[in-house]
Amino acid sequence: MDKHEVQIRVSNLNFFYGKTCALKNINMDIYKKKITAIIGPSGCGKSTLIRLFNRMNDLVLNSRVEGHIYIDGEDILSAKTDVVELRRKVGMVFQKPNPFPKSIYRNISYGLEVNNVKNKKYIEEKVIDSLKNSALWEEVKDRLNESALMLSGGQQQRLCIARCLAVEPEVILFDEPCASLDPISTRKIEELITELKKQYTIVIVTHNMQQAARVSDYTAFLYLGELVEYGTTEKLFTVPENPKTEEYLSGKFG
C-alpha cells in the first residue's frame, strides 16, 4: 500500500454540522492515479468527506472542520488556500447530472472561460478533446450548439464529466455518479472512470458495492462518520478485517 505516491492525505479530520459530528477522526491516504471508492450506508458521511476535498462544504452555514487535509503536501483547509485554485485542481461530478442550461459546447467551454482562457482555437480543441475523453463525442459531434438539457441522463452525466476534464484537474471526485442512471449508462460511466484512471486520481462515492468492487483499487468503508476500514479493494471485499465491514458487505445492514 505504501509503494504508491500519496495525492490526498487526511489527518485527524473531524467535521460538524452545527453541533452534530458528521465525521470523526478520519485518517487516510489517497493515492495518485488510483481509484478510491468510499462506501457505507446512507448518511454515514461519504458526501461530507469528499466535499471537503474541494471545499464545497464552505457553502454550508454553521459547519466546522478540525484537522488537516493535505493535497500534494499543502493543507487545503488552511485559511490561506485559494479555493478557486483548489477547485480547478480538484474537479467534481455530482450525483444528479447538472449540466448548465446552455449549449453542449458552452457547457464545456464555460470552465475555460471562467478561468480566463481567451484563445478560441485552444478552447475549441479542448472542448473536442474533453468530449472524446468522456466518450460522448460520437453522440454529440453534430449538435454541439443544441441545449445540453436535450441529452439523456447518461449523456448529461458524461457531459458533466467532460466539463470537469476540460479544466484539467488532477483529482476528480465522483459523488454517486450513477445513482440516477440506468444500467447501460452506468456501465458506460464505469468504463469511462476506469479509463480516466490513467491520468487522474479518482475518488468515487457509491452506494453500490458491486460498483466499488468493479472499478476501484482502494475502498474505504465509512460508518456513522467513522472510517471503519480502508485498504485495497481486493482485500476489503475478500478478507475484511473488521466484523462491521463484513456485516455491511454481506448485506446485513445498509
Binding site: 474541494n54 464545497m56 457553502l59 452555514l61 478557486v84 485554485e85 477547485r87 480547478r88 474537479g91 467534481m92 455530482f94 444528479k96 447538472n98 449540466p99 448548465f100 442550461p101 446552455k102 449549449s103 464555460y110 470552465g111 472561460e113 471562467v114 478561468n115 441545449s147 438539457l149 458533466c160 466539463r163 470537469c164 479544466v167
Partner: protein, 284 residues
C-alpha cells in the same frame, strides 16, 4: 365512487364558471374600450398635438410623454432592483435583518401610489430641484415599481437550482462569475416577467406623476429630461374632469385608453420576445 365522480363534476363546473366570468369581464373591457376608442383613432390622432381646447387634433405628446416616463422608470428601477435582489438572495445570510428588509420591501409595494406622488414632489421636484419633469416623474414611478421588480427578481433567482451554482463553483468559477454567467441568464425569463408587469403599472399610474411630471396641456414636445410632459393616464383624467366640451372629450378619453392599452401591450411584447428568445437559448 358515484359520489366522488359527482363532486368532481361539480368542482369542475365551478372552476369553469370562474374562468368564464373572468374572461367575460376581460372581454367586455376590451370590447368596450376598443369599440369606443376606435371611433376617434386615426393617423392624425396618433401623430398630432391637441387643438381647440382638447376637442380636436391628436394626443401624440401624451403618447410620447407616457413612453418616456415608463422607459425612464424601467431604466432606473431595473438595475437598482436587480442589484438589490442579487444582494439579498446571493450575498446575505438568511437572518433577521434580511427578513426585516424583505418585509419592508413588500410593505413598500402596498403603499398607495398617491403617497409616492407626494414623496416624489417633496424629494425629486423640491429637494433635488429637478422640477416638475420627466426625470422627477420617472424616478417616482421607478420607486413605485421597485418593490415589484425586487421581489420578482428574488423569486427568479431563488428558483435557480442550487446544483447549477455548485457545478459552476466546482469548476473554479468565482461566486460573481457564477452569478453573472449562470444564475442571471437562467433567471432572466422570470425577471423579465416582473419587468412586464411593472411596465403596465408604470404606464398606467396617474397619481405618482400628478405632481411630479404631468401637465394637462403643453405646447410642443419635451426636449430634455427636465421638461414637463403630457401623459396618457393623466390626459384621460383631465379630459374627464376639466374642459368645456364633455361629449367630445369623453370620446378622446376612450381613444387615449385604447392607445394606453396598446402601448402597454407593445412594450410587453418586446419584453416577452426577449424572454422567449432567452428560453429558447437555454431550453430549446
Amino acid at each position: 365512487m358515484k359520489r366522488s365522480v359527482m363532486s368532481q363534476k361539480i368542482g369542475f363546473f365551478i372552476l369553469s364558471l370562474c374562468i368564464i366570468t373572468t374572461l367575460f369581464f376581460l372581454g367586455i373591457i376590451l370590447y368596450f374600450i376598443t369599440v369606443r376608442g376606435l371611433k376617434v383613432i386615426s393617423w392624425e390622432f396618433l401623430t398630432q398635438a391637441p387643438r381647440n381646447g382638447m376637442t380636436e387634433g391628436g394626443v401624440a405628446p401624451a403618447i410620447i410623454g407616457t413612453f418616456y416616463l415608463t422607459l425612464g422608470a424601467i431604466l432606473f428601477a431595473l438595475p437598482l432592483g436587480l442589484a438589490c435582489a442579487i444582494y439579498l438572495t446571493e450575498y446575505t445570510p438568511k437572518n433577521t435583518v434580511v427578513n426585516i428588509l424583505r418585509i419592508s420591501i413588500n410593505t413598500l409595494a402596498g403603499v398607495p401610489s398617491v403617497v409616492f406622488g407626494l414623496f416624489g414632489l417633496a424629494v425629486f421636484v423640491k429637494f433635488f430641484n429637478f422640477g416638475v419633469s420627466i426625470l422627477s416623474g420617472s424616478l417616482t414611478l421607478g420607486i413605485l415599481i421597485l418593490p415589484g421588480i425586487i421581489s420578482a427578481s428574488q423569486e427568479a433567482l431563488t428558483a435557480i437550482p442550487h446544483s447549477f451554482r455548485e457545478a459552476s463553483l466546482a469548476l473554479g468559477a468565482t461566486k460573481w462569475q457564477t452569478i453573472r454567467r449562470i444564475v442571471l441568464p437562467a433567471s432572466l425569463p422570470g425577471i423579465l416577467t416582473g419587468v412586464i408587469l411593472s411596465i403596465g403599472r408604470a404606464a398606467g399610474e396617474t397619481a405618482p406623476i400628478l405632481f411630479t411630471a404631468a401637465a394637462f396641456y403643453i405646447r410642443g414636445y419635451p426636449d430634455s429630461v427636465f421638461s414637463e410632459v403630457m401623459a396618457l393616464p393623466y390626459h384621460i383624467y383631465g379630459l374627464m374632469t376639466e374642459g368645456t366640451f364633455p361629449e367630445k372629450q369623453t370620446q378622446i378619453a376612450y381613444g387615449c385608453a385604447l392607445i394606453l392599452m396598446l402601448l402597454v401591450l407593445l412594450i410587453s411584447a418586446v419584453a416577452i420576445y426577449f424572454r422567449q428568445k432567452q428560453r429558447r437559448v437555454h431550453y430549446g
